[in-house]
Subunit: 94 residues, 7 copies
């Protein structure tokens, strides 16, 4: 299990399904990087200079939107995740 | 529905109508990026180091002006939006 | 009407009159960008981390001087304006 | 013994085992840098501007995940370690 | 009249007199930019985050020294001035 | 004697002994820069914005480890030293 | 007289004497820039955001060491000086 530190969240990013035409997979050269995903783990919040923890706003199972250049890609247990600071999340998708 | 986080606002940006001459659409190579739009969602405000939320000034339905290089373009439900930090908004257009 | 946000001011910038010699307009290749203008709108002031607003010093109708590389050019209602943070204003011209 | 200073942790990074096929070691040109390791030492925490120490969250023997470009590689007593600021750790792996 | 804003001062910079030999003006290719001048106007001081003004140290008529790459050159009423933040002044010349 | 200012320490860095084979000195083209040394002097600590001094953690005679690109090389009295901010020290070597 | 502002000090830097062999001055192509000098004037200290002055540690006549790329070279009354922020001084040489 991954437990994010500080103000980080771990997001599970699913590739958009590949489009098929009559069973033939269409290779997409310009396939966009996903910009939404589901929060699978959230850190306790950032620790400020006084040692206090400022809790996060997002929580596990929130669907979130982010810029395609944000965060760090990590692999764990055969799946790919994105680790982001909460401040790099743009919006919650409801 | 998109719920922006922190001090972000989501702006609906409409392309200027294409100019037509006698029904013929004029292709504009130098088409300017729009710099005004309507706020469709506003975040609760930034959380400061003490954990307090500083509310935003703009609200939903405000028409706002911004620099053409500001913000992040996102697509949601078939429409295009711009996500900006409130501090990157220049003015409210009344 | 444009209502600037935060610590911004909107300045109306008039091009210097073109110089003419005996009625002939002299094309100036090295035409300087204007560096003075009149404040047509001023924001309420910056909001600090505690949520307090720090009021601006300049006010509407002040003539102000600024660096030619400062601010953002915007168009509104057929006129051109410059939007600047108050801290980028150099001086009030009296 | 290495005693990290401030908010630093020292991580022991083991190369992934080389894959072998029928006893033949497969040379991997694209061998990834490791991005997980075990904390072997943790600093007391950062000293803030008032002279107070803000303790760390991670502790010795935690398995941690980090970006492959984070930290400083050091050698000590024949082994290789990575020295990182705690804020550069992404997650604890449990 | 120019009234500098915040922590700015306006300095009147006189070119060093050109050297002449027997009445012939010597062209100086490597003519140095002046690095001293007289303060002709001083702002009220910077406004801090609490809205308080921190007064300046230098005052009108002080001769000051500055780095030749500091400040913004402005023209006003036919004369050239340099506008600098007080923190970019190196020393008072007495 | 060198008395470091603020949060600086002065470290005496000894080159690793050159390896010899049968008395022949082996020129090492890829000779690594040293990354450990002994603290020979430590400053009183950084002065914060209130004028208070925050004391250092390391002390004279500590063996310390640092990144090979940290600090400033200085010569004094025929010997070479490295001057570093304490925050650029990675660990104490015991 | 030069009176440095804020947290600046003015240092008199003497070129190392040129080496001569039998009266012949040896041109040194790789002549090092001096990195020590004597403090000839010290500012009152930096003014913090509350308007308080934080006094300096070094005083006139201290011999100080600095990085060869620090500070601003100025000429005054026929002599060359270096103006530095106190935080750019490495050590006092006793």
């Amino acid at each position: 299990m991954l437990k994010p530190l500080g103000d980080r969240v771990i997001v599970s990013v699913e590739d958009e399904e590949e489009k098929t035409v009559g069973g033939i997979v269409l290779a997409s050269n310009a396939k966009e990087k996903p910009t939404t995903g589901k929060v699978v783990a959230a850190g306790p919040g950032a620790t400020n200079h006084h040692g206090d923890v400022v809790p996060l706003t997002v929580k596990v199972d929130d669907n979130v939107m982010f810029d395609k250049y944000s965060g760090t890609n990590v692999s764990y247990d055969g799946a790919d995740y994105l680790v982001l600071h909460e401040k790099d999340l743009l919006a919650i998708v409801e």
